[in-house]
Amino acid sequence: MSESALHPVETQLLEVSIGPQHPSTHGVFRMNVVLDGETIVKLKPVMGYLHRNHEQLAENMSYLGSMPYTDRLDYICSMTNNFAYALAVEKLSGIDVPERAQYIRVLMAELTRLVNHTLLIGFLLNDLGAFFTPVLYAFREREKILDLFEAVAGSRMMCNYFRFGGVKADLPAGAMDKVKEIVNNYPRFLDEFERLLTGNEILRSRCQNVGILSKELAVNASITGPMLRAAGVNYDIRKVDKYGIYDRFEFKVPLGNVGDVYDRYYVRILEMRETIKILHQILKQMPEKGEIISAKGATAAKSPRMWKPSAGDAYGRIEAPKGELGFYLVSDGSPKPYRYHVRPPSFINLTILEDMCLGRKVADAIIILGSVDIVLGEVDR
């Protein structure tokens, strides 16, 4: 695999620390790289520069109190973080969610998936060396969804919208029209994005057969999300767990067959197209009005410090855009969680970074990292 093994010339190894201040480590991530020329012979990820002990903070706070903090885990898709946390708490305390709230939740989660994948592809292209054009196109489209989030939740990124047993507030007037507009225009944008990128020979030759991840290793290393599906493993928690109301929607799971950066890129585009299908179905099926939060949930939201779930533990997981986002909660019957653990997808997806990068060039390491799709808020917590 490694060309350096066959190299006839003895060369001195160069140790380079890529990051934590580096334009394309997506935050304060650091890779300690040993290079032979430009070829990577060793790579050790170093993280923790953004560690804020999220779990301990949450253990000293009411259950609702850590809801806004979950926004800050993966700050690009705060809605799905809320979703996973709400799901875990609902599992813990047995709160049920009304019909309309379920639809709103799925709607928000799928819009978040669009935001995340669009943005990721933009930044992946930036890592590839395109001068911000894909990023700014991605931002342009993301803005429309963020406007909707602002109208619905009050904040563009730190939504804090989900509550245990429902959502914070009903959709405002006109929100559904905006969703319709986004859903109808998004395929056109995706086509344009693909015209800009997918056919591009430079992109293809840069991405294809780079950072190949085998099926077996992907499963063994607990890789989840688009990365796993790009490796060809059919595992989507939306299909497997059918949490929320995902069993009501018709959608497919796109699978790659090589597991390289290009597959990871393209599986995300295909996933966005499937997401649009789900959104169309939501628009059709969604009840006009109804409860948005169950009675038990409403009391939990109104006075969080009075609300005590029964003792026990629960693990709630969802298919976040980046992979499986899980929350493990242990309650001892007090208003504060006794243990609160996040299973962040991008953190665990980094496990095999070295395996994918060995024997490749520096430039490849950057795009492999880009295709893993990490957000440091989530990696370091």
């Binding site: 001068f131 196109y137 800009l196 067959n257 290009y262």
Partner: protein, 382 residues
């Protein structure tokens, strides 16, 4: 054909004529050269400043934004503001840097960039020095940039700089070869190395780009030129997403500006030379010759900026492969086609060289097929 001298040449001639009245011959020659140098020394940096403006504006427009529009109308004073900022910034030298090399590199990098301007025919009679080996001079001098860049990267004592410098050397040396090879057909056709003569050979719309060999040679030359001046998609030496800023990672303030200036002036020079060699130089109807030259050059620069706004970057090995496996054989075969064109009589040569060119294209295409990316199929599981 009736051409009047461009206005600048008239002014210069007037001054020289006036001085000729009371000064000895040799001083007039020196003054003539001095005037040309002054013009270039002013033109170079000013071009560079407004190229930065143009680039930001065009890329901005491509990215759904305005680009600079705050300083002055249309942001036209932005380069001046940038210049002031650059001048007032602190000049940081790394503690362990090789101080002399680190200091000399930005100076060294500007000199060849300015020197090559001397052989570019900006218009009729507007060549600073009409060397009979002008083309060779250009190619030789522009290669000197490599040394300066490597000095900068070595002197900085930064690993990213060093990687950038290594990449720069490898890239520039590799691309020099197909670049020279793609010029050879032009020399074959004109029988001269003087840039002025090459332009004059193309007067009357006989641009070399309209010949089969010239068309492909022009594309190759331009691509190599883009690679020479380290611009997207060949901007590996300073690939900001990989090695931060490459060879100029450790430069700040005016030294950084000098690197930038050299890059933009080289970009202008390369575009200018492409125009000279393949696009008929300053030849063109109605407009004055220098306007034609600038128009064509800026069109090519627009393409460079357009590349920057669209394309991702190559990888090191792909970049080398592109130069050695694709461009070099192609340019070599192209020389034979150009020779065919020269040997055969006029109407027949178009057909023959056209066919030959097509055959070569097909061969190169099939030879490079195994490296080329493939289309993929995806499974949709339930």
């Amino acid at each position: 054909m009736e051409y009047s001298d461009p206005i600048f040449v008239v002014i210069k001639k007037g001054i020289l004529h006036f001085l000729h009245g009371f000064l000895p011959e040799w001083t007039v020659v020196i003054i003539s050269i001095m005037l040309s140098i002054t013009a270039i020394a002013i033109f170079g940096p000013v071009t560079m400043m407004y190229l930065t403006w143009l680039e930001r504006k065009v890329v901005g427009r491509m990215q759904n934004r305005w680009g600079p529009n705050r300083v002055g109308i249309f942001g036209l004073l932005q380069p001046i503001a940038d210049g002031i900022k650059m001048l007032t910034k602190e000049d940081i030298v790394p503690q362990d840097a090789d101080k002399v090399t680190h200091f000399l590199a930005p100076v060294m990098v500007v000199i060849p960039a300015l020197l090559v301007f001397s052989v570019i025919p900006f218009g009729r009679g507007m060549t600073a020095v009409n060397l009979n080996v002008g083309l060779l001079f250009f190619l030789a001098i522009s290669t000197l940039t490599t040394i300066a860049i490597f000095m900068g990267s070595w002197g900085s004592r930064n690993k990213f700089s060093l990687l950038g410098g290594m990449r720069a050397v490898a890239q520039m040396v590799s691309y020099e070869i197909p670049m020279v090879m793609s010029v050879v057909p032009v020399i074959l056709a004109t029988g001269t190395l003087s840039t002025v003569s090459i332009v004059e050979a193309q007067l009357g719309g006989k641009w070399f780009i309209f010949t089969p060999w010239g068309f492909f040679a022009a594309i190759v030359f331009f691509l190599c030129g883009v690679a020479e001046v380290n611009r997207t998609p060949f901007d590996l030496p300073e690939g900001e997403s990989e090695i931060i800023a490459g060879f100029h990672t450790e430069y700040s303030g005016m030294k950084f500006a000098l690197f930038y200036m050299a890059e933009f002036m080289s970009a202008f020079a390369i575009s200018g030379l492409t125009v000279t060699l393949f696009l008929g130089g300053w030849g063109g109807p109605v407009l004055p010759s220098w306007a034609w030259f600038l128009l064509k050059t800026y069109a090519l620069i627009f393409i460079m900026i357009w590349f920057r706004g669209t394309l991702p970057r190559f990888r090191v090995d792909q970049l080398m492969g592109f130069a050695w496996k694709l461009l070099l054989p192609f340019t070599l075969l192209n020389i034979f086609v150009a020779a065919l064109w020269q040997i055969l009589p006029s109407p027949k040569n178009l057909l023959v060289s056209g066919i030959a060119e097509a055959v070569i294209l097909v061969i190169v295409f099939f030879a490079s097929r195994k490296d080329s990316p493939t289309k993929r199929t995806y499974i949709f599981a339930d």
